[in-house]
Amino acid sequence: MAPSPADYKTGVWVDWCPGCGNFGILAAMYKALAELQLKPEKTVIVSGIGCSGKTPHFIRVNGVHAIHGRAIPFAMGIKLANPDLTVIVNGGDGDLLGIGAGHLVALGRRNLDITVILHDNRVYGLTKGQASPTLEKNLRPKALPKPNIQDAVNPIALALTSGFTFVARGYAMMSDHLKELIKMAISHRGAALVDVLQPCITYNDIHTAEYYRERVYRIEEDGWDPLVRDPMERREKMLEALRRSMEDDARIPIGIFYRDPTRDTLEDRIAGRLPSYLARPPALQKIEDNGRSIITWDIFRKIFAPQFVETEKVP
């Protein structure tokens, strides 16, 4: 029987603030996982630290609640060691674009098949509302002693220039639309980023549900086709995606900005070097036989032949 969203719930109490946009993201995830029929035991959600970082505890798939900013590298090790697993990262904007920005850029360069869901509330929720890297300059959500003096980073543009091959934006309160994006992102082979606009009811009194309700529109309604069908199209598609990512906040496009299935993934590239990689990845290889290494003396002698010197016979 096909699983239902409820099958992906754990009994753990969801301790987000009532009304938090994270509930919308969680609901979209339950539905996406169910509709994709992802096996809980073959799925791993990796998170950083923040309100968003608690997500894995609420979902009945494997959960790795890592450290602040490092969800992507943790996820990378999991995925590379066992590419059979579906690996999803949930992280905050502070986590992924502040302390962890370097890893985000590096993931783009690798195009590893991981889906990153960015809980973009423009504040540091769990540490009580400081400015996050997506908060625009001069704004002052309620917990700041003074208006923000740093500019905002544009997650869509950053992901595009870093090499992500699937880049989309969703809105936490449009749960079904978001669910579709998450499904497509997970189904996409390669590094995928979904920037989710997420109201933080407690600390962000600027980017509220009303704020977004008035501004979001579906990018495809604007006639945008994000799909790269041929590597030759990449540059133009990417530039147009970049253009669309640079709307000022008066109108905020949601939907898929860019989708390029033509680029090989890191797993593909590794498989090019290690032909048995996908069939027998690191996690699934046998390393011993009855307590003995599979590297027997003969094998040892062969692979390390360059290190051996045959000595001249004693005269």
Partner: protein, 636 residues
């Protein structure tokens, strides 16, 4: 004929010195000599002075280096200036007579401090600062054999004979020096050919050019000087010997140990290990892949350890390798591995600190850091290897211990070991065991990854079919965040008590080796790569009637307190000393912290150069005659 020789080969970084050393070591190994060599170099790619300090023996595989040397093979003038003081009276200098007029202050690559010291000395000796005046002085006053060869002419000759451009021909300076040394040592021509052929396998033209120039110089030197420093035929009887660096053996150990994921960020002196593994990433046998290892260069060390932890969560044996600056960046994630009981292995090559420090020099100054790195408390195992063979076995055991006790393991090594090349007998693979602890590869449903029932919980891995959770927060048995104080107390205690379990189970003899007789009344205590120098010093001390023994710490956490106390108790506390490559005598501090035993004497060195058995011998004597602390400083 001598049974052993110590020599130095020097030249500027990038000029082919490593080739000379490789060829020399291979020839020596071919002839069954035991060899150990240290490589000293600057943090520089081309131009700075670099040298190999090598000891070869016909009676044993030597364990350490010592001074003075009997021969200097100089690729350039700087080498002679830098090392002549370490040459024994009567020793041999192979040098380039075409640069005789170079003066000590005309060499920009030399450290100003050294130049100034030499200038003072030369002016006292009445020398004019040129290579020529120095060499003349040495042969005149110190009985040195100054074997000047005109490298420039030899190279020009070669270039014209094989019609090579001058630039390319100049690379054969390393062959000249090699040939000259081989001649002085009386190495056979067959061993020379073997070395050339195995070093340049597949590059026939290079082999034949080498043979040409090597042959020419070899004959020239032999004919002019004879095999002045000829080594006696070797007594050793190994049908084969491995020629390996410390990086190599650790890599080999990891491969045998089942490593399947290695992440790293390049750093001296660790990167060569990953390079070696990458070169062996795919292992085939009988035409099929029997092992494949993912080796990934990450964007930084934080990513390196984080991804290795991720890989370990899937059940793959996973490791990263680094040195001080990289480890400093890993400590936060290390704590996560401790909290989540992840068997990740960190191979940690110490180098000179603090900060960037002396990036290409050795030290053992990260012991207390490795033991206490990361906030909060969690158990970890810290292993340290004393020589190449230990490093091989320890690299395997690191995984076994990590999986048995489900905790991070730090394998501490250092630059001395990493970069020293030795002839090593084949390791005994039949003694190697792979033990995976409570690993669960197949399961189903939600599982308690952190069950409280036993000290070491069942290790359901990601992908096993079980569903599990993990958190850096304090968690309940399921891995969910839990701030309840009673749960906190139980989980915290269980984690910490795994260390007690490891302390009960890991045999003391695995953790500590005692070298010495029952009648010894002087005790040296050390760890890591000081082992060789200490063992050699002990032998040497016997000649002076001093009966010394050595206690070598190999697993430092859990510390083998019981056996250690039993040993140390037998010695008069005035005759016990630690020997370490750091300033604070960190092992001494650690011992006092853990066992309460106060070792009041120390012999330390922190110049970045290895401890030589020669200086250690006099260090021990100084301690025995009442000094509390001896600081060794030998080596340029």
């Amino acid at each position: 004929m001598r049974s052993e020789i110590c020599l130095i080969v020097g030249g500027s970084q990038g000029a082919g010195l490593e080739t000379t050393a490789q060829l020399l070591t291979t020839s020596l190994a071919r002839l069954r000599y035991g060899v150990i060599s240290d490589r000293e170099y600057f943090s520089n790619i081309v131009g700075r002075h670099s040298y190999i300090h090598l000891r070869a023996s016909s009676r044993e595989i030597p364990r350490s280096l010592k001074y003075p040397v009997q021969l200097i093979g100089a690729m350039d003038a700087e080498t002679v200036f830098t090392h002549f003081q370490d040459l024994k009276a009567g020793g041999i200098i192979v040098y380039d007579s075409s640069v005789e007029n170079k003066t000590v202050d005309g060499i920009p690559s030399m450290e100003r401090d050294l130049v100034n010291r030499l200038k003072r000395m030369f002016s006292e000796l009445g020398l004019d600062g040129s290579l020529k005046s120095l060499v003349n002085y040495l042969s005149r006053e110190k009985d040195m054999v100054a074997a000047g060869l005109n490298y420039a002419e030899l190279i020009t000759g070669l270039a014209s004979r094989v019609s090579l451009p001058a630039q390319q021909a100049s690379r054969y300076v390393s062959a000249i020096v090699y040939a000259a040394i081989a001649a002085f040592l009386g190495l056979s021509e067959s061993s020379i050919n073997y070395a050339l052929e195995s070093r340049f396998r597949g590059k026939d033209q290079i082999i034949s050019i080498n043979k040409l120039i090597v042959g020419e110089v070899y004959r020239l030197v032999r004919d002019k000087y004879g095999s002045l420093a000829a080594l006696a035929p070797s007594n050793l009887n190994h049908p084969e010997l491995m020629v390996v660096s410390g990086n190599d053996v650790v890599a080999m150990g990891k491969i045998v140990g089942g490593l399947r994921y290695q992440s790293y960020y390049p750093i001296t002196p660790a990167a060569d290990e990953s390079f070696f593994i990458e070169a062996n990433e795919r292992i085939t046998w009988d035409g099929s892949d029997i092992a494949s290892i993912v080796v990934l260069q990450t964007e930084d060390e934080i990513s390196a350890i984080s991804s290795a932890i991720g890989a370990a969560l899937t059940g793959a044996r996973a490791a990263t390798c680094t040195s001080g600056p990289g480890f400093s960046l890993m400590v936060e994630a290390l704590g996560w591995a401790g909290m989540n009981e992840v068997p990740v292995v960190i191979t940690y090559y110490q180098r000179g600190g603090p900060s960037t420090g002396q990036p290409t020099r050795g030290s053992q100054s990260d012991l207390l850091f490795a033991l206490h790195a990361s906030h909060g408390e969690f158990p970890r195992i810290v292993i340290s290897s004393g020589d190449h063979l230990e490093a091989f076995y320890d690299a395997i055991d690191a995984f076994n211990l990590a999986e048995r006790y489900q905790m991070p393991v730090i394998h501490l090594l250092d630059k001395f070991l990493a970069n020293s090349i030795v002839t090593m007998p084949s390791p005994r693979l039949d003694e190697v065991r792979i033990e995976r602890g409570g690993l669960i590869l197949e399961s189903s449903g939600e599982q308690r990854r952190f069950e409280l029932a036993d000290l070491v919980p069942p290790r359901y891995v990601l992908g096993s079919g079980a569903i599990t959770w993990h958190a850096g927060d304090e968690h309940d048995e399921w891995g969910h965040i839990d701030e309840d104080p009673e749960n906190r107390e139980r989980m915290y205690r269980r984690r910490m008590e795994k260390m007690t379990l490891a302390d009960q189970e890991i045999p003391d003899e695995r953790r500590l080796s005692y070298y010495g007789g029952d009648d010894a009344d002087v005790l040296l205590v050390g760890w890591g790569s000081v082992k060789g120098a200490v063992l050699d010093a002990i032998e040497e001390l016997e000649k002076y009637g001093i009966k010394a023994a050595y206690t070598h710490l190999r697993i430092i956490s859990p510390f083998p307190s019981r056996l250690f106390r039993r040993i140390i108790e037998k010695f008069d506390s005035g005759r016990v000393m630690v020997v370490e490559h750091n300033y604070m005598a960190q092992l001494g501090l650690l011992i006092r912290m853990i066992t309460g035993v106060n070792i009041g004497h120390s012999i330390v060195k922190y110049t970045g150069r290895p401890i030589y058995s020669s200086e250690l011998v006099s260090g021990v004597k100084r301690i025995l005659s009442g000094e509390r602390r001896v600081v060794l400083t030998h080596g340029p």
